[in-house]
């Protein structure tokens, strides 16, 4: 049988066995509505609250600061649109973000721009990291919000979050971070890092899809995104997705408990791939080599187009991505890679490999054994590669 290696864990992860086991009762016998008064409902409510405590303790928050949502995109939308609405009433209509946020942040910001907000997108430079002096210089009297992602979903670079939090606190500006890729992979302490709102998504750390959470610092009140019933203390309507929430709580508890060990293992896999891939002529690693998620490798190969590369890898049993899975229907190169200053023709040749607990160093070796021949094959039929080589010789 052909080998299958799943190397797209930044897109989604598999639900782990202990997580599924924890969820199963709530998909079967424990089907009660957590808002119902009888015991079956009460047990569901207790399970939701246990999950809330687990999620809170994973990021240094209190349980009453965690609101379950339908996922990372909902959390981002709620945080940004909610803060915007509150602050607009105070005459503050300026938001600072970065050029390479996820679309769940960029698209709400574009909508706000149409409604009279001014948006400053900080450059992320060649290494994929913002400069703190540029952030501080961008803050104004009317700045309503700073929203900067914890770790980038495509290139894996990690921002100096506690320094950003410090600057925001100093200037009295609210700080939201899309931490969808970071939660479960990096140590997060919302209090120490002065984070006011934080978005997370369960399926990025071996939990189920369709469930996420927003941390909202106590004392901060934002209008609801979804109105209706009194779930989530009246702030997010909709019958609780009990099994999903339970799964998220368990998955995050496990991710935090095994973080140090996993981080070491993933860093070794990541570095082996980076070192091996860089031996291929005209290849590059995108984003800072050190300040990045343990399991993320982002590469570009000149003269090769990303989709062809992915499909060839798929034929060899390797599931990877060229950038974000969310934009794979698009023909334009990734806005993330362009934000690093890469020209279009290089950004088109991107490959993202993202690893989880389930991967091994042998996976890295296998990928490195098939990658060079695939690149070689695609380059042998590429007129762009011919041009690159002929320019090299002149």
């Amino acid at each position: 049988m052909q080998r299958f290696i799943y190397a797209d864990n930044a897109a989604t992860t598999a639900i782990s066995k202990p997580v599924l086991d924890e969820m199963m009762p709530y998909l079967t016998s424990e089907y009660g509505n957590a808002s119902s008064l009888y015991d079956l409902g009460g047990r569901a409510k207790m399970a939701v609250n246990t999950a809330r405590e687990r999620v809170a303790s994973a990021i240094g928050a209190n349980a009453n600061e965690i609101y379950f949502t339908g996922g990372g995109s909902e959390s981002d939308n709620w945080a940004i649109k909610g803060i915007a609405e509150v602050m607009a009433k105070k005459g503050k209509k300026h938001i600072i973000s970065t050029a390479f946020e996820h679309h769940a942040v960029l698209h709400p910001l574009e909508k706000l721009k149409k409604n009279g907000f001014e948006i400053t997108l900080l450059p992320v430079h060649e290494n994929g990291i913002i400069r703190l002096n540029e952030l501080e210089a961008a803050i104004r009297e009317d700045t309503a919000l700073v929203t900067i992602m914890y770790a980038n979903n495509e290139i894996g670079t990690v921002q100096p979050i506690s320094e950003i939090g410090e600057i925001c606190k100093k200037h009295g500006v609210i700080f939201h971070t899309d931490a969808v890729q970071a939660v479960g992979n990096l140590k997060i302490d919302v209090k120490a890092e002065n984070i006011d709102l934080l978005s997370m998504s369960s399926h990025k750390f071996h939990g189920p899809k369709g469930v996420g959470a927003l941390y909202i610092r106590r004392g901060l009140v934002i209008p609801n995104l979804i109105d209706g019933g009194a779930q989530e203390r009246g702030r997010r309507a909709g019958t609780e997705n009990t099994a999903g929430i339970v799964g998220m709580g368990k998955a995050l508890e496990l991710a935090v408990a095994t973080m140090d060990e996993r981080s070491k293992k993933l860093t070794a896999i990541r570095d082996r791939i980076m070192d091996g891939a860089l031996k291929i002529e005209r290849s590059r690693v995108n984003g800072d080599r050190a300040s990045r998620l343990p399991g993320n490798v982002s590469l570009c190969f000149e003269g090769v187009e990303g989709e062809s590369l992915l499909l060839m890898l798929d034929l060899k049993g390797v599931a990877a991505s060229s950038g974000s899975a969310c934009t794979s229907g698009s023909l334009d190169p990734s806005h993330v890679l362009l934000s690093l200053g890469l020209p279009h023709e290089i950004a088109h040749g991107s490959l993202r490999l993202s690893f989880s607990d389930d991967n091994t160093l042998e996976d890295a070796d296998y990928i490195l054994s098939v990658l060079p021949e695939i690149i070689e094959r695609l380059r042998s039929m590429s007129p762009l590669w011919d041009r690159i080589k002929s320019e090299e010789n002149n």
Partner: protein, 144 residues
């Protein structure tokens, strides 16, 4: 996402390479848009004796190049003149909507090679092939 025919032509592309003493060479697309197709034609007595291609691009760009070269190889030159992107799409059993432009590129690449051939023969290609198309013309795929 892709039909079996597309995957088959992508994994085993026909007619890849160059013809050193080609009678006509055409190149369309650009690196910025993410695809370049280059077609080489060998034409004798009005027949496309040989055709080769080199393509930088996605799987459907490679597959459309491959099938388009198969469709004109050994055929009278008129067949190549008439080849439409629609026929290329049909031969592949369809393409996703956002990949249709690859078939347009394949048609344009062959026309560009034919144009080069006619010009080398001292024949004005415009009455036969129409006005030449520019890079990114008809391409709705990206904003450039």
């Amino acid at each position: 996402m892709y039909t079996e025919q597309v995957m088959e032509h992508f994994t085993n592309p026909r007619n890849v390479g160059e013809i050193v003493d080609a009678d006509g060479v055409g190149e369309v697309g650009n690196a910025k848009c993410g695809d370049i197709m280059k077609i080489f034609l060998k034409i004798k007595d009005g027949i496309i004796e040989d055709v080769k291609f080199k393509t930088y691009g996605c799987a459907s760009a490679i597959a459309t190049s491959s099938i388009a070269t198969e469709m004109i190889k050994g055929q009278p030159i008129e067949k190549a003149v008439e080849l439409s992107n629609k026929a290329v799409v049909e031969a592949l059993g369809g393409l996703p909507a956002h990949k249709i432009h690859c078939s347009v590129l394949a048609e344009q690449a062959i026309k560009a090679a034919l144009r080069d051939y006619y010009e080398k023969q001292g024949i004005d290609p415009t009455p036969i092939l129409g006005e030449p198309v520019h890079d990114c013309h008809d391409c709705e795929g990206c904003a450039h």
